[in-house]
């Protein structure tokens, strides 16, 4: 048997308990207790909207598009931003989740600030946020304050 430390020393024991107390106090997560006792927290409705807060109405628009397009539809996302990191990517990255079974199509080159209007050829629908875009070859099938849904004319 090999003794590793002289753990019988009082200072060592005191130090170990102090360190343990520091870890305990420093790692304690009071937020979860506050979550139980209430306090100023956002409502479920506010939290649901939170991931889309920079594009007001966008979540509603996507849900509408999901209800009005068939599975397998290719939907181009039209947003009034010319820069990927300046707003377009924010909307594009969030669109797919609320359009399950549909393929979202970007109108900017992913990660770049160049238009990719050629992608429009691959789209069956165009979903335009906060605008009533008119596009040749497409017809508006639904419109609201949140935006417009256009379908390709066969």
């Amino acid at each position: 048997m090999t003794q590793l430390n002289d753990r019988s020393s009082l200072p060592g024991r005191v130090a170990s308990w102090l360190i343990f107390a520091a870890i305990l106090a420093g790692g304690f997560e009071p937020f979860y207790l506050r979550a139980l006792t209430g306090g100023p927290v956002a409502s479920p409705a506010q939290l649901t909207e939170l991931p889309y807060r920079k594009l007001p109405g966008f979540r509603r628009l996507l849900e509408t598009a999901a209800a009005r397009t068939p599975p397998g539809a290719r939907i181009a996302i039209a947003l009034p931003f010319q820069q990927w990191e300046g707003g377009y990517g924010y909307g594009y990255y969030r669109a797919s989740y609320l359009l399950p079974g549909r393929q979202v199509v970007p109108l900017l080159v992913p990660g770049e600030d160049r238009p990719a209007l050629g992608n429009l050829r691959q789209a069956d629908y165009v979903l335009s946020w906060r605008s009533a875009t008119a596009l040749p070859g497409f017809v508006a099938i639904w419109r609201s304050d949140d935006g417009t849904l256009l379908r390709r004319i066969r």
């Binding site: 019988s8 024991r13 343990f20 420093g26 979550a35």
Partner: protein, 453 residues
Amino acid sequence: MIAALLSSVVLVAAGWPLACWFNTESGQGGRRIGEAYLLGAALTAAVLFLLSLVHVSWSRPALLIGLTLAMIGAMAARGRILAAVARPRIRAHWIDLLTVLLVIGYAHFATRAPTVEYDFIGIWGLKAREFWFAHGVDWRFLENPFNEFAHVDYPLLVPLVFDHYAILAGAWPDRWLGVVNVCFGIATLLILRSFVEEETSSWMVAALATVAMISSALSPWIGLAEGPLVAYGATGVLYVRRGMQRVGRERATDVTRGAVFLAAAAMCKNEGLTLIVAVAAGLLVAGAFATLLRLWPAALTAAMWMAIRSIHHLQGDLTSGSIGSRALGHLGNLGPMFEAMGRYPLGRPLFWGGIIAAILLGLRRIVQRERFLASVILCQLLFVLAAYLVTPHDVAWHVRWSWERILNQLTILILFLAFTGLLPWMEPREAPLTIEGEENPQLSEPPNADAKA
């Protein structure tokens, strides 16, 4: 909520036979329940994946039949399971009431609304929802270049577990998917608690240590793979570590158990893949060359996923383009990376200060007994730094949005390492721990002693 809770119970039931096979020690009821959930989640992911491979559309009956067959297989493989099932018991201390309160608070936090995390909407939840909609793994979605942003190269266990909940609920349970985080967190706490109990004879210290582990075990990133990765990764590493302290068949059994959990960790995130390499490196540093082969379940699973990923040309941002030139570029200018790490600190200075102090206090013991665990942590940290070196993104941006979350994957192991240095000092004088565990009955007791009795 009821559907989500029932789906969790189904996972515990599905994993129970395997958990009994894995864990036959006496007094380890908590660990068994935790492991049952983890193994059940891995099983359901495997069943859904296999159903997709054989082109069977996902449905509630198909999933339940698959899980039942897996359970029967596990029972048939181990005839003594029923004997083991009769014995589990959970011991608790009154301090555990605080842990229970915090877990309830966490559950409220995780399920009061759909998660607000972008990584859920853009990666984990997105893939799960697409698969659920397609009634199977949708390879066309993953292969489409327009969806590259969804990190299509990431392993699929976590989205498939979300799908388990959706299939059993019969609808997409947006808000209640937070239950997955809660269950993985509880499983982590139960399992880690049992490992801490093996390091101390004091129930009070074990209960307090559990409270200290809460912020690491209950991932604040709801809907992400961090929680499952921590659960599987920490369990796997700690089983291998315990195996290193044993000999003969007990060592082999523990290391193989650990490798199974590491395999599941590798199916959660790419960091789980590197964790297998880190564990192998830890075994080498600890001089356990012969034990390396026992990691075969993890290595095989990782190799299978890499092959599938390659067949479907699924590539991530870190491995695309010229990795070498990016690494050289960042190596030549490390300032921005370290500057960002300094600018976005991890917080909780008292916690980290305590951990450093604990490691210093127990340094001699850690160097002599915990070379494996320390090496795994260091190696995995190097992989994290390597990811920043090859990142195609702005390194400061990458550090800012991932540093705390990625390090949180290792925090519970770092905390456990600190405990191994600290707890012996807190033991009563008459029960010192020794190098080879000769006088520690918890280390020398055969793992299946109770079942044999």
